[in-house]
Symmetry: C2
Subunit: 211 residues, 2 copies
DNA sequence: TGATAATGACCGACCAGTCAGTCATATGTA
DNA sequence: TACATATGACTGACTGGTCGGTCATTATCA
């Protein structure tokens, strides 16, 4: 008979532990296939305890995907506020930030969850649009407008469809979580190539600049 | 007491009816939330009958998403075989084909299913990679190589990452099924703009060509 | 009148959510 | 300090309901 040790924790900490466990479970098995008991076990507590902190499974999920709202956008906001930073540099920073902080960490599974379960959870989709997508597009619009003014875009029309800039991020998420076992995608090259497609080559910026 | 009319059908036809019903159900509620009884009801038959045609729910789902493998790739194959068709025209045909045959039909829900449930069904992901993605990339590689040879790409590096060409298709699927209620995306403009970003403007093709 | 297809009541595994009871700790009392 | 009592976080067996899958029965067909 295993002796179960009870342990009281600071509610905030316990909450965080449950969210961590839930993240791991949802990320690796999806919403439907994850049992509340799995989450509890992973957090090292009993099932009932989970319900002391979250009203039900849906709430746990919604809170989870909403709560991990990345601090990336914050960094982007600062970056774009600085007029001396070129749009190309800002976008390239966004891409490498995305690669380092999302694509190459467990957070990529979170984004996958939003893609996969979003339609089932309008609250989640709405939240992500409002907090992440909408804000990101706002930053991009500023950047792209500035880029157009300086003639840095190969196709100025991009400024009217800033979603395009997000396309490689989406592609990389889907590819790495769906097709990577069958065919490797070099995401570094993907982002670099895309950047070179969006922006005119450095040498062409000062007119007459020979490459 | 309602008198239920039994009906015998050609097995092929019945199979198709079940698949249609399953498509509708899975598309609107996802795999987990769809009950076999829903599928049966939608097909106008009893639950047990479904099991006369498919061994279990997984098989039904797998068969469904595999079976609707689009004839689009076939059309693309023919198009690219014709040397006189310019790469830009071929890609633009692909985009409009995709818009007309997938994005603006119920088939878009099928693609969304693959994205959402793919990781849970390796067989599905593997199938889609092998039958759709892999073939599509093959066609694209040929097209892009030809485009590079004729100096039609703004960034020849694209030829090494043909996945990029698929990015707007992915973006449009995800956007329309996830964020469309909150913010409209003009997919026509999205694809047009992307095309203009990939390929050099028509006037620049013949060197010295004035715009 | 078999042979075949279809039915839907039924089974049992599974699981979200509940709640009566437990016990480590904090507080009050002598 | 030593003991009694109160608190509430924690537990896990249990419930009620759901749903994938089965199969004895019934209807239809050749």
């Amino acid at each position: 008979m295993v002796e179960k040790r009870r342990e009281k924790r600071d509610p905030q900490q316990r909450r965080a532990e449950i969210l961590n466990a839930a993240f791991a479970c949802f990320a690796e098995r999806g919403f439907a296939a994850t049992r509340m008991e799995d989450v509890a076990a992973r957090a090292g507590i009993a099932k009932g305890t989970v319900y002391l902190h979250f009203p039900d499974k849906d709430a746990l999920f919604t809170e989870l995907v909403s709560g991990v709202a990345s601090p990336i956008l914050g960094q982007m906001g600062e970056l774009v506020a600085n007029e001396s930073v070129t749009p190309r540099f800002a976008v390239s920073m966004f891409y490498s930030l995305f690669r380092r902080e999302v694509l190459e960490t467990d957070r990529r599974h979170l984004l996958r969850l939003v893609l996969a379960e979003g339609p089932m959870f309008p609250a989640v989709a709405e939240f992500y649009h409002r907090e992440i997508i909408s804000r990101g597009l706002g930053v991009l619009r500023i950047l792209l407008a500035r880029a157009v003014a300086h003639g840095e875009l190969r196709n100025p029309g991009i400024a009217e469809t800033p979603q395009i800039v997000m396309a490689p991020a989406l592609l990389s998420i889907v590819w790495t979580t769906l097709f990577e076992p069958y065919e490797h995608l070099d995401t570094q090259k993907l982002f670099d190539t895309f950047l070179d497609t969006l922006f005119v080559p450095a040498g062409d910026l000062l007119e007459g600049g020979a490459q």
